[in-house]
């Protein structure tokens, strides 16, 4: 095992896939420049040439269509977007074509396409550079969806996505790029459809994905100081989803708080809350709770931005509230992060 950053894990997976399979190509705005999508595509164009690693015009709709066609034509495109927000422009292609192609044409063809996009939380990214569209990709059947949290996930799921004959959407988080984690020396694909228990506990289940899993783990640390043992469950793979692991946890703890990177309404947190209310109802000892971005437009100004996003502090507060504990003294320090802008 090696200790690497999330960014390097993505990079290693891409490099390895490109070495092993000459049909893999990487496309998207800036994939071949010196910034290399936060470093995740660094030097790939030097190693594999501009036919396999290329910049695109700024045309998310058209270029997604091109990626779909390239996939039908025999390539395995990995199409990268430095902000998830730009994908609204690609939804017609992704959801009317990529997601439907195989079924609509009776199962004769598949679209082996990988779309990577990055969520841009904080540093004043504001209204249009901070969104997180996993629920859209989940709502419409036909695309596999994952949000890798650790370097291990990032590497394994990117490899798995590339090997998959179906369209796959991987949603990464900017605040995870600097974090390190262990990965195997030789990158190995990890299968879709696994929910990961990040920490065990008996008192409450925190289902939290992507960067929210990091905050949930911090919250769990704080809570354990108060004698509350939170189990942190990360549905890394959202489609297909490993429901059993989530349900088993709730069956054990009887309590659920879901924390997602996006808004709550019709989001992942609604889905998981509904799932539990459907399938683990009898184990529930308390109402389910949902946390996500607040129901408004993402503001730039720091105090508003801080109030807008969920974090360890709001998770702790929610859990305490759920357990009926009145602890107004709880102080959860803000996440120490070396992260700064400008982008």
């Amino acid at each position: 095992m090696r200790l690497v950053t999330y960014r390097d894990a993505l990079h290693a997976a891409l490099s390895q896939a490109m070495e092993e399979d000459p049909t893999v190509c990487v496309m998207g705005i800036g994939v071949d420049d010196h910034k290399a999508v936060f470093g995740s595509t660094k030097d790939l164009v030097k190693r594999f040439g501009p036919h396999r690693v290329f910049d695109t015009p700024i045309a998310e709709g058209g270029m997604t269509g091109v990626a779909i066609g390239a996939a039908l034509g025999g390539l395995k495109p990995v199409h990268i977007h430095i902000r998830c927000d730009f994908l609204y422009l690609a939804l017609d292609q992704l959801l009317n074509l990529a997601a439907k192609w195989r079924s609509m044409f009776g199962g004769q063809m598949s679209v082996p396409l990988v779309v990577r996009a990055v969520v841009g939380r904080s540093w004043g990214q504001g209204a249009q550079h901070s969104q997180s569209l996993q629920s859209f990709m989940m709502h419409v059947p036909g695309i596999k969806v994952a949000m890798p949290t650790t370097a291990y996930d990032a590497q394994g799921l990117l490899l798995s996505a590339i090997a998959d004959p179906n369209p796959v959407f991987l949603l990464e988080h900017r605040l995870l790029y600097e974090l390190t984690g262990e990965v195997p020396d030789y990158c190995r694909a990890i299968p879709f459809g696994k929910t990961v228990v990040r920490r065990e506990g008996d008192d409450v289940t925190l289902v939290a994905n992507s960067y929210m899993a990091v905050e949930a783990l911090r919250a769990a640390d704080v809570l354990s100081g108060y004698g509350i043992q939170a189990e942190v469950v990360d549905p890394v793979s959202l489609v297909p989803m490993d429901e059993a692991t989530i349900l088993n946890s709730v069956r054990k703890t009887g309590r659920l708080v879901v924390v997602d990177t996006s808004w709550v309404t019709c989001g992942v947190s609604a889905e998981i809350a509904a799932l539990v209310a459907e399938k683990a109802f009898d184990s529930l000892k308390a109402p389910v709770k949902r946390l996500g971005m607040q129901r408004t437009v993402c503001p730039v100004s720091k105090p508003l931005e801080r109030a807008f996003y969920p974090h360890a502090g709001t998770i702790v507060a929610e859990v305490l509230d759920l357990l009926g504990e009145q602890r107004l003294d709880v102080q959860v320090p803000e996440t120490a992060t070396s992260f700064k802008g400008p982008f």
């Binding site: 036919h51 045309a59 058209g62 269509g65 390539l75």
Partner: protein, 347 residues
């Protein structure tokens, strides 16, 4: 017999290069058009029976385009089309049995009954798919051409779309990318005068659609789409250019939609139509024009036509019988084919 491409609307000028087309080839063009016409007529006739429970967009009057385009292509070349896809499907060589089975929603259909009339497909003959979102499939065709180029393949891609598709931004994005990478793709705009009930002039100040790629570096040409020989000639030249590596091309074929936009009927009296256009279209029916030409230049006889009619009718009857005898999909199969099974991986 190979006529030069013509440019005037509905004008025909094809004295040259006759030697290059054998009688067989000339007949093949006619027979493919005839096949489309009779199939569409059969569909229109049977539609009120509710055997076809999905929208149909017929291509009567537009047969020259599909046929001229597809017969200029080789077997490994690929085509992408729209919901108005019956003509393209037949011209590219799609199986008639699978077509009717698809229209009837049977499991033996070309898309197992899942796609219906709007989503015909026949990858075995290079028809990769038809989509019902206007223009959406254009960049997909470009992507296939990108793959062809990256792979060093000879495969060429044609995407056929209506005059409405050039309204969508993705058309320009596609043309621009094809130009940038000099991809082996031909953009075929089938201008049938209307997008639903909207004329080109209702949607564009500048109505020469073939020029829409110009400023992006893609040359364009406008031709009479009702002259199948002209369509073939134009396409043969475009195909040769693209294969030589000259980059993508845009061709606009002028034709006319006879039936209502969707459904089995005509709607010639509706206010969106210009009676003169209908008059002109009648005069330049692609099937009649081709027949006249073939009678004039080759030894096309009534007997031969009657024989072809019989053949087509027999094929249609067989296809309908096949479709009717075919089972509907089992409701239990509803969830099949959403995903292809992924290779298993470690852990």
């Amino acid at each position: 017999m190979r006529w030069k491409p013509t440019t005037g609307p509905f004008a025909v000028d094809g004295q040259e290069d006759e030697a290059q087309m054998t009688a067989e080839q000339g007949y093949a063009l006619y027979r493919a058009m005839l096949r489309i016409r009779r199939v569409e007529e059969a569909i229109a006739r049977m539609y009120p029976s509710d055997k076809i429970q999905s929208p149909v967009h017929l291509s009567i009057g537009q047969e020259g385009v599909s046929v001229g385009v597809c017969l200029a292509l080789g077997p490994t070349d690929r085509v992408y089309g729209t919901y108005r896809g019956h003509g393209l499907y037949i011209a590219k060589g799609g199986d008639l049995k699978k077509l009717f089975a698809e229209l009837f929603g049977r499991v033996t259909g070309c898309a197992k009954g899942r796609g219906g009339s709007m989503h015909l497909v026949a990858p075995e003959v290079g028809l990769m798919g038809c989509s019902a979102i206007v223009a959406g499939i254009i960049p997909v065709a470009v992507g296939d051409a990108l793959a062809s180029k990256v792979q060093g393949s000879q495969r060429l891609v044609v995407v056929v779309f209506g005059d409405g598709a050039v309204d969508e931004g993705v058309f320009f994005e596609s043309v621009n990318f094809a130009a940038l990478k000099q991809l082996p793709v031909i953009f075929v705009c089938e201008n049938n005068a209307y997008a639903i009930h909207s004329r080109v002039a209702d949607r564009h100040r500048q109505a020469e659609l073939f020029r829409y790629g110009e400023s992006l570096g893609v040359p364009g040409e406008r031709c009479n789409g009702n002259d199948v020989f002209g369509v073939l000639g134009t396409m043969e030249r475009a195909v040769a250019d693209v294969r030589r590596g000259c980059g993508p091309q845009l061709v606009e074929f002028m034709t006319y939609r006879w039936q209502e936009h969707v459904g089995p009927n005509t709607d010639h009296a509706e206010p969106y139509r210009d009676p003169r256009d209908i008059e002109r279209a009648r005069r330049f029916d692609p099937l009649n024009c081709a027949e006249g030409r073939l009678r004039e230049r080759l030894d096309l006889t009534d007997d031969r036509i009657a024989e072809w009619e019989t053949d087509v009718q027999r094929d249609i009857d067989e296809a309908i019988a096949f479709a009717e005898a075919s089972p509907f999909p089992d409701p239990a199969s509803l969830f099949e084919d959403l995903y292809e099974e992924a290779p298993s991986c470690g852990s």
